[in-house]
């Protein structure tokens, strides 16, 4: 069986207070004038108690999803431990989102999905969420007619009793306040979420995961459509969350992946093709054949290129950094 204790290099063993200091919040602004993500506030909403998450790990075994005879996911095994920041990549139709759907109860699946020792398959969607699993969607789905504050307050309130629900919200809950600071939307708290910019909506979704206190976070293309600066900030925030909790990110963006993934699972045609650090995956000839070759095609290269060509040229030309478990962008 999998050892539930973290095996990655995430510094959960050291004093937790040391973690946020490693990242200089001033370096994060990147010209957004305090409008962006504020990592120093993340501490307040995440809490310093990493012990709580010590035994969290996602264990997917023999996952099988079928839609009317079409096998979308076939016999997938996946283990993500707490403190990991796992990226799921793969060509379109590889089954990335379907796996997230299966874990969260949206898609019917067979096999086994356990989180923290609790079987999730067969549970209703809201019961899966109650077990500490939160997710975001490819198209940012926030409650557009409600304000930023209302969105976060709802996300924070799944455990509220009937009397609390039937009363008007008195003040702003602490974790909601901290989450608003973290995602840089405090000054927009009374703005309807529908009129937020695209990137802000995605941050709001991440904020909702934070106040929901999800222990397993599944993010489906969280930086799609974001500017470069916004990606950097989002990546740092995800890394910060990943030090403490179990995070799985579905992403297409190779640059983002290289900068922030602590481990990568490559999917192809509904199965796991390769798994490991970015460097390991990158060196895997099968990945180069089916995935990076395809990614190269989307960047203008020919898909029919033989594998010899692909072996020396991964998706981008810049030299690959070693597996980035520390924040690689602070040097920028």
């Amino acid at each position: 069986m999998t050892d539930p204790t973290p095996t990655t290099a995430a510094p959960v063993t050291g004093p937790d207070r040391a973690v946020p200091d490693a990242i200089n919040p001033d370096a994060v602004g990147l010209g957004l004038e305090g409008d962006g993500i504020d990592l120093s506030s993340a501490e307040a909403v995440l809490g310093g108690d990493a012990e709580r998450f010590r035994h969290d790990y996602l264990e997917v075994r023999g996952l099988h999803v079928e839609f009317d005879g079409f096998v979308a996911v076939d016999d997938v095994d996946l283990t993500v431990v707490q403190g990991d920041l796992r990226f799921l990549i793969g060509p379109n139709g590889a089954g990335k989102t379907t796996i997230v759907d299966a874990i969260t109860g949206l898609a019917k699946a067979s096999g086994s999905v356990q989180f923290g020792g609790t079987e999730l398959l067969g549970r209703k969607v809201h019961k899966v969420a109650r077990a500490g699993v939160g997710r975001t969607f490819q198209t940012a789905s926030v409650f557009e007619e409600l304000t930023v504050l209302q969105n976060l307050d709802i996300a924070a309130g799944a455990g509220r009793g009937p009397w609390e629900l039937l009363r008007r919200r008195g003040g702003v809950p602490e974790n909601v306040e901290a989450a608003m600071e973290t995602i840089g939307l405090t000054h927009l708290r009374d703005v309807q979420a529908g009129i937020l910019a695209h990137g802000q909506k995605q941050w709001l979704e991440i904020g909702m995961l934070l106040v929901q206190d999800a222990r397993l976070l599944l993010l489906d293309e969280p930086v799609a459509g974001m500017s470069h600066a916004e990606r950097e900030q989002t990546g740092l925030l995800l890394q910060r969350i990943g030090e403490q909790r179990t995070v799985v990110v579905v992403e297409h963006d190779m640059e983002f992946l290289r900068a922030f993934a602590s481990s990568v699972t490559v999917l192809h045609m509904g199965s796991v093709l390769s798994e490991g650090t970015y460097a390991e995956v990158q060196a895997d000839p099968r990945v180069q054949e089916v995935y990076l070759g395809t990614a190269g095609a989307s960047r203008g290269a020919r898909r029919t290129r033989p594998r010899a060509g692909a072996a020396t040229s991964p998706a981008t030309t810049s030299p690959a950094k070693p597996a980035p478990t520390t924040a690689p962008t602070t040097e920028a």
């Binding site: 969607v125 809201h126 409650f143 969105n151 307050d153 709802i154 629900l165 919200r169």
Partner: protein
């Protein structure tokens, strides 16, 4: 003192209280003086429709449940009340007159408990609410929504009316139940008691508006809107949307039932024609025209539409139905938010050169919230107890 400072600290609440006070003055002091007994009784009937409308505003406007079958709950409340009144008129152990005509001359067993007034009052609220809860859980947990839910609820209204017609010996059939002489011991022929019924209806309606307002501004109200717009997203946050929808649906059903129960002594008859598909849609028209997502839009819309129906039917007996249809189409096509959304638009653009009423809305009161306690200022019926002056009187000091 503390309430006073509380009021000053919460201008929204001041305005709400002022609105309620104004509505109470209009209903309890002005209306009885201005209106003849006949008109007052008509207004009482419209208030019953407005009770149904308040509930629909919550379930449809905020919860997104297009309930085309509120006639079922209205009818259940009405028939339970009518059965009790018939039994009370017949006296202890007596048999209602129509049963002697059409039935076996014996009171069926399931009528018997309704001889007791407390049982009848409880049943008026509990039976429709229980039905709504059972139905709601069955439907919403299976994720039946949108048009499918609308069709289902309408089919239920049709079936209910057919059932009533088919059971003439116990329900009075197409004639319905009528000829009530007394209401919990009070003689219904006495104008004083008719007036009392109006006051009861007015008081109950105000209570319902207060209740729905609380639901709308509460966290539940926010959640309900969230469920309406993104049901799945709510699920992923750990809530069961079915429960939230059922609560709103049950509240709407209970309000429709109470409206139906008060309709019976006020109008003096309840028949399948009052509870079937057509009246069920009629309930909706007022809500849509008034503004379904607002608090007072449905109330004022329902009263205005009923009032217009009565006055227009007096002059053009066959023309009303076309007028109603046309009004409905115009509102749905050009003003999906109902007339109440006009108010919001006017308030949001108070400094526009073409703003028609510069005095009514202070610029600072421009609030995007649809829940603000202002109804349509320009409702079609001038007699409706429009609370729009509230903004004019209190708005200037607030904010």
């Amino acid at each position: 003192m503390s309430t006073l400072t509380g009021l000053l600290a919460r201008p929204g609440r001041t305005r709400t209280l002022a609105g309620f006070a104004l509505a109470a003055v209009l209903l309890f002091a002005v209306a009885p003086v201005v209106l003849s007994d006949f008109r007052l009784n008509l207004l009482a009937k419209f208030l019953c429709f407005a009770m149904v409308a308040v509930g629909i505003g919550l379930a449809w406007g905020r919860g997104g449940m297009l309930t085309l079958g509120q006639g079922v709950f209205f009818g259940l409340g009405a028939y339970i009340m009518a059965m009790h009144l018939k039994l009370a008129d017949a006296g202890p152990g007596g048999v209602p007159d129509f049963m002697l005509l059409y039935g076996t001359g014996e009171v069926p067993g399931w009528w018997e408990p309704l001889r007791s007034a407390p049982v009848a009052i409880l049943a008026i609220v509990l039976v429709p609410c229980a039905l709504a809860a059972v139905l709601g859980f069955a439907v919403f947990t299976r994720r039946v929504r949108g048009a499918y839910f609308a069709i289902l609820s309408q089919a239920l209204a049709a079936a209910f009316a057919i059932l009533l017609i088919g059971q003439q010996q116990v329900t009075g059939g197409t004639n319905g139940l009528n000829g009530f002489r007394s209401f919990f011991g009070y003689d219904l022929a006495d104008p004083i008691n008719k007036r009392m019924l109006f006051f009861i209806a007015a008081g109950v309606l105000l209570l319902m508006v207060a209740l729905v307002r609380q639901l709308m501004v509460s966290r539940f109200g926010e959640l309900l809107v969230a469920v309406r717009d993104q049901e799945n997203r709510v699920r992923f946050l750990g809530y069961d949307p079915a429960v939230i929808k059922v609560v709103a649906y049950v509240v709407a059903a209970g309000m429709a039932a109470i409206g139906g129960a008060l309709f019976v002594p006020i109008v003096g008859i309840i028949s399948p024609a009052d509870v079937g598909v057509v009246p069920s849609i009629g309930f909706l028209v007022g809500v849509a025209i008034g503004g379904r997502a607002t608090l007072l839009g449905p109330v004022l819309g329902a009263i205005a539409v009923s009032w217009a129906q009565t006055s227009l039917s007096e002059s053009f007996p066959s023309g009303w139905i076309y007028f109603q249809g046309a009004l409905f189409i115009i509102v749905v096509a050009f003003l999906p938010g109902g007339l109440a959304s006009l108010v919001g638009k006017l308030r949001r653009a108070p400094r526009e050169p073409a703003a028609p009423k510069p005095g009514t809305a202070p610029p600072s009161a421009a609030s995007p919230s649809a829940t603000s306690p202002t109804g349509p200022t320009t409702t079609t019926a001038p007699d409706a107890p429009a609370t729009s002056p509230v903004t004019a009187t209190t708005g200037g000091h607030d904010d």
